[in-house]
Point group: C2
Chain length 497, copies 2
């Protein structure tokens, strides 16, 4: 069974144990791990490395580059303290804590940029790439599993490649991937993709088989996603968005099938996508970075006719569903390298509708996607700015309050700017929607306060804006009170006065 999956015969003798693979990782190395939002991540070798470090009480520190967040293994590595520096995204509680107490360095990086940062030598290069695969082709190429992520660039740059051949991932995933390799920037042509449904590459990752120094057999499943069910607030947000999009179609600003849709990672974006299920919209196409549960329901319901992304990140139930119906889904899904799923060139060309979640927004439409109180990292910017900055229609969604009402997500001044007012078109909360396109800052502030903020905070936001207006300026502020909501939360545990 395993040898069947290794179709390039010379590599059949390269099977090693996870422990042997772990031996190849030495202190100070840069390790590139497959994995994008819990999917298709390297698992068994990092786990063996963690075990080895614990067993031998080793002082080993490595830099870890990934596609995006990994599954369980992120927490294990963080707990073992083996990561010196990590990029470009994480979403693990233990890792977050280590980052926020200064025990681990984190570079919060646009997901589309990692490849070119490596090509241009802006960061130390990858020593070892550890990449999950469902098969090795006749040419010795690597067939990835539930994500593509940065696997092509990691395997291309690494001095050696270790493959985790995962038999728990169905071999039928072969054919779902489309691997297009970008050239160096000095000699790069256009990316020829003009339709999300188009294949522009090959089905496996080209690699010099001599670079593969080991194949480790694994059967550990992807860590299932933990998205929360839609609730009353997310249902209201979805309703607002659908109503808005309906208006755009009616006024001729969007075609009936809309434009290709990108939806961010996490519970909020997933829940908002469910809004399309009961809508009149049909024949939708997605050009996204991650496909979560909702997309599979939309495909089943005939609402989404095609979806392109870099990974599928599913709960246990939807993972089983994918495995049972894989041949059917393969006709409607393509997985691409994250350089292609998130490429500014394609996002602008295709005219995407980008829907991403915000942590907080300010009255002028600047968006914080990453930090609590301006200081503590949550997960990271991920691909949100790849999409937001270049999409045709950039939408941010957030509930108007968090922590049982003690936090207003609409604030005078966001404590960290991931997306500037220049890039934000529409803000949606359960309270309403602010379409700020074509509006100057003072016009935007009124809309955002009136339509998006929670009634418990609206009067205070108005008072701030009124006071700021008296001071004048294009973007009026009362600087000494700009963070007053946050300062109050820090001292009283609530933003409420």
């Amino acid at each position: 069974m395993v040898t069947e999956r290794i179709r390039y015969a010379p590599l059949r003798s390269c099977i090693i144990t996870p422990e042997q693979a772990a031996e190849r990782i030495r202190d100070g190395m840069v390790v590139g791990l497959s994995g994008f939002t819990r999917s298709g991540d390297a698992k068994i070798v990092p786990m063996a490395l963690v075990e080895k470090v614990k067993r031998e009480q080793q002082k080993l520190k490595i830099d870890v580059y990934t596609g995006a967040s990994l599954g369980e293994v992120d927490g294990l590595m963080a707990e073992a303290g083996i990561i010196r520096k990590r990029l470009p995204f994480q979403a693990d509680r233990t890792m977050r804590d280590k980052i926020n107490c200064g025990k681990m360095l984190f570079i919060d990086q646009h997901l589309s940029s990692v490849g070119d940062l490596l090509r241009s030598g802006a960061m130390p290069d990858v020593d070892v790439a550890i990449v999950e695969a469902v098969a090795i082709t006749e040419e010795g190429y690597i067939v990835p599993s539930t994500s593509v992520g940065n696997n092509p660039i990691f395997t291309a740059r690494a001095k050696e490649v270790i493959v985790e051949l995962n038999t728990a991932q169905p071999l039928e995933l072969e054919g779902i991937h489309d691997i297009f390799i970008l050239d160096e920037q000095i000699a790069r042509g256009p990316v020829p993709l003009v339709d999300p449904r188009q294949r522009i590459g090959i089905p496996a990752i080209p690699v010099d088989p001599d670079k593969i120094t080991g194949i480790v057999v694994s059967d550990i499943v992807d860590t299932p996603s933990s998205v929360e069910e839609p609730d009353e607030d997310t249902r209201l947000m979805a309703e607002q968005l659908i109503h808005f999009l309906r208006g755009e179609v009616r006024s001729g600003r969007l075609p009936e099938q809309l434009m290709p849709i990108q939806a961010g990672v996490g519970s909020t974006a997933n829940a908002v996508l469910y809004g399309f299920l009961d809508s009149e919209f049909t024949d939708l196409v997605m050009y996204s970075e991650v496909l979560q549960d909702a997309v599979f329901d939309l495909i089943d319901a005939g609402k989404v006719r095609f979806a392109s992304a870099s990974s599928v990140t599913l709960s246990k139930k939807y993972m089983d569903k994918l495995h049972r119906n894989i041949e059917a889904y393969k006709k409607k899904i393509i997985l691409r390298p994250q350089e292609i799923s998130n490429h500014p060139e394609l996002i602008r060309r295709l005219g995407l509708i980008a829907i991403n979640a915000a942590v907080e927004v300010d009255i002028y439409g600047n968006v914080n996607s990453t930090h609590v109180l301006g200081t503590h990292m949550i997960n990271g910017i991920g691909g949100s700015a790849d999409f937001a900055r270049n999409a045709r229609l950039t939408v941010f969604v957030t509930k108007s309050v968090a922590k049982g009402g003690r936090i207003s997500t609409v604030v005078p001044f966001v404590t960290h700017v991931d997306h500037s007012e220049h890039a934000v078109d529409v803000i949606v909360t359960e309270q309403g929607i602010a379409d700020v396109r074509g509006l100057a800052p003072v016009e935007r502030a009124q809309l955002i306060i009136d339509h998006c903020s929670h009634p418990d905070y609206r009067e205070e936001l108005r008072a701030y804006f009124e006071e700021a207006l008296k001071r004048g300026g294009h973007t009026p502020h009362v600087l000494e009170k700009a963070f007053s909501f946050h300062e109050r939360y820090a001292s009283n545990g609530t933003m409420k006065p």
Copy 2:
């Protein structure tokens, strides 16, 4: 002479006076004016409109869309109070004052985005386009003058087009332009440009000649640019940058001819470019939005072998030089629509080195390009984020202090974020350089404070950072003191303690 320039004979009878043209602009209209950073702007018709409004004491308000800033005419229109809303950029003292006291609305917009905002109906469409030209071709197409800017999209979208045929602009400019028209996003292919020297379009702006309702003859020259001479500080900044680039070449991260260079508008970027004159670098190529004086000296010195942009913005002396040697310069310069000069697709593909000026930077590398004290607009974001967000190497330059030392341009927290830490690679002041690529926030802060801040402020910045570090977090801050430098300036007229 004039009829010679109108080669499409039926339009020869369309010559009207500026006053007649001004009559066509009615209250509430959206007017698209040619002009990009003082160059090739519509002049005689807006001036006639201003005169008419004054003479007739008319209450006329229009929305004005442009390429970027205009020349003298921006101040005249602002003073006359005829602009209700303006986008995407301005750089005029009177206009700035009107914006900052709330008498005029301004949308500070990425220069590459205006076209797609119009195509997607995100803003009211253009009623009348007024476009400066050096000639009308046999087909009735418009040959622009010293800038292309948004002229193609304005003429395509406008209900009617008025041409300012400017005989003060040399007819020999014909052939310098390369007009490539983007399709609607639903049916758009790749932009086929793979080399800054490549022509991908046609030499004039296609327009239905029936839409041209008037041709006004003009001989008003472009308002000359007012860049300041390099000084000791800008010379030091240039030196830092050249030294850094030399190191990049030596370590193999950049090729000997570097990558195509973009340099921002204004005195600082212009002065820094002069640093290349005495450097070993040669055969450089520019892919920029504006070509200022320095570029012409670099071309003359054989340092720059080709330059692509959307406009040439020159002082009187360099304008004369261009006119005298136009045939020679035409072999080395192409002017393109700003959708192409600033296209994210091309900026990423070509791997640009983007050099732009900052108003202030914070210790984590966030950059403010637009606002004084977070509230008062200076000029606008222009194309800086088009380039910064997608370039291979994003450099921001600023003197470490302003206003005779009373303002530190390195601050704990910028009061407006135009470029987030995620997009900034290198910061240069006369004090030194911080290469923050591959660094986590706490690593960046140390470099930026130590290398870029002015000694007068360095200790206080260190103290802020130390205090912040004690509070923890991925991006440590002391929120209640984040704007302390600015608050002190507001009350004491200096940031010094």
